[in-house]
């Protein structure tokens, strides 16, 4: 029986680096067709409803920019952390806190601040997400507590806090008892930049974040430290790079970006504070970060693709009567294939005995 052998590559394959995400997407599409068939839908029609119909209009194409913005903002921050082996998986909670803190400004200080409202809202949102991420950073650096678990636990806490606010003190008194804040107005609203779409500030900020992330990782000394700490912690310690400082930086950066994404979502597409302000953007951003191979340019492309899956899910829910949960299954599947294809980047797969070995 021929055996598969793995031989580590001396250098990661450039070709495989670019091809592995593409291969993963292709495999996911095949898996999706199987899933559609199991659910009793014609795969071709389902593909069309999922991936083509949603962006066939000008407005729909614009939605791609709107939906991808929070994903890209969160994923850029997470990816920089993942590079340094800092596993912030609480971006969802930091997103919610950003939404809460920004909304505080919008709800109570809009009349006083006037035209300065929106900038202050974004600063408050960024600080909110940053503060929420500072907790796992402190617990990690001071008490050695695993940031995966603490950041995730804080996500549940943030969600409960939001629930409390929209049901209690911040509920709209004229809102017929619905758990929601009053609708933002005046200077607290983000207006679309391109008429006929909802593209606005958020999409712009996402691109800025991607450019900034690229500069940080490819052109700065801090980015170099991040990469060395992630690849060989021992060498980084020998070179005198402070792992604690990098942990702080990665968590604060990703928290701040998630907070910006949060307030952008509340002040833009949603327009008020609701009990749920994210369909899991903070978690999906983890997939976006990996699909983009932790590289800012890749993340922008991955963000667009995953945004399309969200839009497709909403469209297919109406046109094909498919449950929205299908999207989660696709996203999970994509991440699995991606992780499996990663093997091709680091190893050469050989069938049977290695020739090099038998020659030696």
């Amino acid at each position: 029986m021929p055996r598969l052998r793995l031989e580590p590559r001396a250098q990661t394959s450039r070709l495989a680096t670019y091809l592995s995400p593409v291969l993963a997407v292709v495999l996911t599409l095949i898996g999706a067709a199987v899933l559609f068939a199991i659910l009793g839908r014609d795969p071709i029609r389902a593909y069309q409803a999922f991936f083509i119909d949603p962006i066939s209009t000008f407005y729909g194409a614009g939605e791609l920019g709107v939906k991808s913005a929070p994903l890209i903002l969160c994923a850029i921050g997470l990816a920089i952390g993942f590079r340094a082996n800092v596993w912030n998986i609480g971006a969802e909670g930091q997103f919610v806190l950003g939404g809460i803190c920004g909304s505080y400004v919008a709800l109570f200080y809009e009349p006083t601040l006037g035209p300065a409202t929106l900038p202050v809202m974004f600063i408050a949102g960024a600080l909110g997400g940053l503060a929420w991420a500072a907790i796992p950073a402190l617990l990690k650096t001071q008490f050695n507590a695993n940031e995966i678990l603490t950041s995730l636990m804080l996500t549940y806490v943030a969600q409960l806090l939001l629930n409390y606010l929209v049901r209690g003190p911040w509920r709209n008194p004229q809102g017929y008892n619905f758990p929601q804040s009053k609708i933002f107005d005046g200077y607290a609203v983000i207006e679309p930049w391109i008429s006929g779409t909802r593209i606005g500030l958020g999409t712009f900020l996402a691109l800025i974040a991607a450019a900034g992330g690229w500069f940080l990782l490819s052109r700065s000394f801090l980015g170099y430290q991040i990469k060395v700490i992630g690849l060989t912690p021992a060498a980084a310690a020998y070179a005198g790079f402070s792992a604690k400082r990098v942990t702080w930086f990665c968590l604060l950066l990703s928290g701040g970006l998630a907070g910006i994404a949060g307030i952008n979502e509340v002040a833009g597409p949603i327009g008020q504070l609701l009990p749920v302000i994210s369909p899991g953007y903070g978690f999906t951003a983890i997939i976006v970060a990996f699909l983009g191979r932790l590289h800012p340019v890749g993340i922008v492309l991955a963000g667009l693709l995953i945004a399309l899956s969200y839009l497709g899910g909403e469209a297919a829910q109406i046109s094909l009567d498919l449950p929205v949960a299908v999207v989660g299954v696709f996203q999970g599947m994509l991440l699995f294939f991606l992780l499996a294809c990663e093997l091709l980047v680091r190893y050469r797969v050989q069938i049977g005995q290695a020739i090099a070995e038998s020659a030696a």
Binding site: L139, A145, I287, G328, G332, L339, Y347
Partner: protein
């Protein structure tokens, strides 16, 4: 007295799913594999267990199939991390995201349905003794099963040859491999066992605890189970203590809500999550203790070189 009994009994009820999932994960981690997908395996176990119990009118069948479902999810993880050598942290996260989506898809048909209550042990006379009676002799079967598993795991890990091999693989897979132990096969089995236990824990939630199916009903319990393993410093007996402590926290907040304590229910609901963080901090503070107790090869990929 009556109130105290009620609190302690419900403490045990809410601790049992954590105990089931955490004791499975403990075995997985002892073999050197970190599976962060507990939440995903639990939630799939919950929906499958509910569906089977609902369809067959048999809670036992529900638990059995849920364990298989959990093991299948774990098999996915094992193939990716042990054969494809994928990053264990990322694969575990993927398993959770996938499980939450898959369970929501599968559970569509069961929303709003309920199951009959699961019977409790009742020994006439003994079960009626105040406090001790209902607490020790009046629980449902899965409570006893979960405690039996902890005892069995403690015995297996510390008293059997096979348990010793499993631990040695978790400490140093290269040395174990050099001695001729099948590292990959044993790890695969340990991961499957962890998955089956998570499946049972999930099924306990949907069949016994609530008993109904709602989307994302595990509500972070898989992650709390992971924290419990750290809390126990990888010792099965301490898991028992930790799980009941957490059960107490989550029940205390429910009872406080019942007593009309002047705190918003949302803040009381934060307690279990905050307690998890607090406990994690207290345990992890001593870095040396974690380093000494954690399996040395935890989370590291193994590739046979010869």
């Amino acid at each position: 007295m009556h109130e105290l009994t009620a609190i302690l009994v419900s403490m045990v009820l809410s601790a049992t799913p954590l105990l089931l999932a955490a004791s499975g994960e403990l075995v997985t981690e002892k073999s050197g594999v970190l599976n962060l997908g507990v939440e995903g395996m639990m939630v799939v176990g919950a929906v499958v267990g509910f569906g089977v119990a609902f369809g067959t009118d048999s809670a036992i069948a529900g638990f059995a199939v849920a364990a298989i479902a959990g093991a299948l999810m774990a098999a996915l993880f094992a193939v990716l991390t042990l054969i494809f050598l994928a990053n264990q942290v990322a694969t575990g996260l993927a398993l959770t995201i996938f499980g939450l989506g898959l369970s929501a898809l599968m559970g569509k048909a069961y929303i709003g349905k309920t199951l009959p209550p699961v019977p409790h042990l009742h020994i006439p006379g003994i079960s009626d003794i105040p406090l001790v009676g209902p607490l020790i002799f009046g629980e449902n079967a899965m409570v006893y099963v979960s405690v039996a598993f902890v005892i069995a795991i403690a015995w297996y890990l510390s008293r059997t040859r096979s348990g010793l091999v499993l631990r040695s693989i978790g400490e140093n897979h290269d040395a174990a491999h050099a001695l001729g132990y099948p590292v990959r096969r044993i790890r695969f089995l340990a991961v499957l066992f962890g998955g089956a236990m998570s499946g049972l824990g999930g099924a306990y939630l949907s069949i016994v605890y609530t008993p109904l199916w709602t989307e994302g009903m595990t509500a972070g319990r898989g992650w709390i189970a992971l924290a419990l393993v750290v809390f126990s410093t990888w010792k099965p007996w301490r898991l028992l203590f930790g799980a009941y402590l957490f059960g107490f926290f989550s029940i205390a907040q429910l009872h406080a809500q019942g007593f009309a304590v002047p705190i918003a229910p949302e803040f009381l609901s934060m307690l279990p999550y905050l307690a998890t963080i607090l406990v994690l901090v207290i345990i992890s503070r001593d870095a040396k203790r974690i380093r000494l107790n954690a399996p040395a090869a935890l989370g590291k990929a193994f590739r046979a070189t010869a």
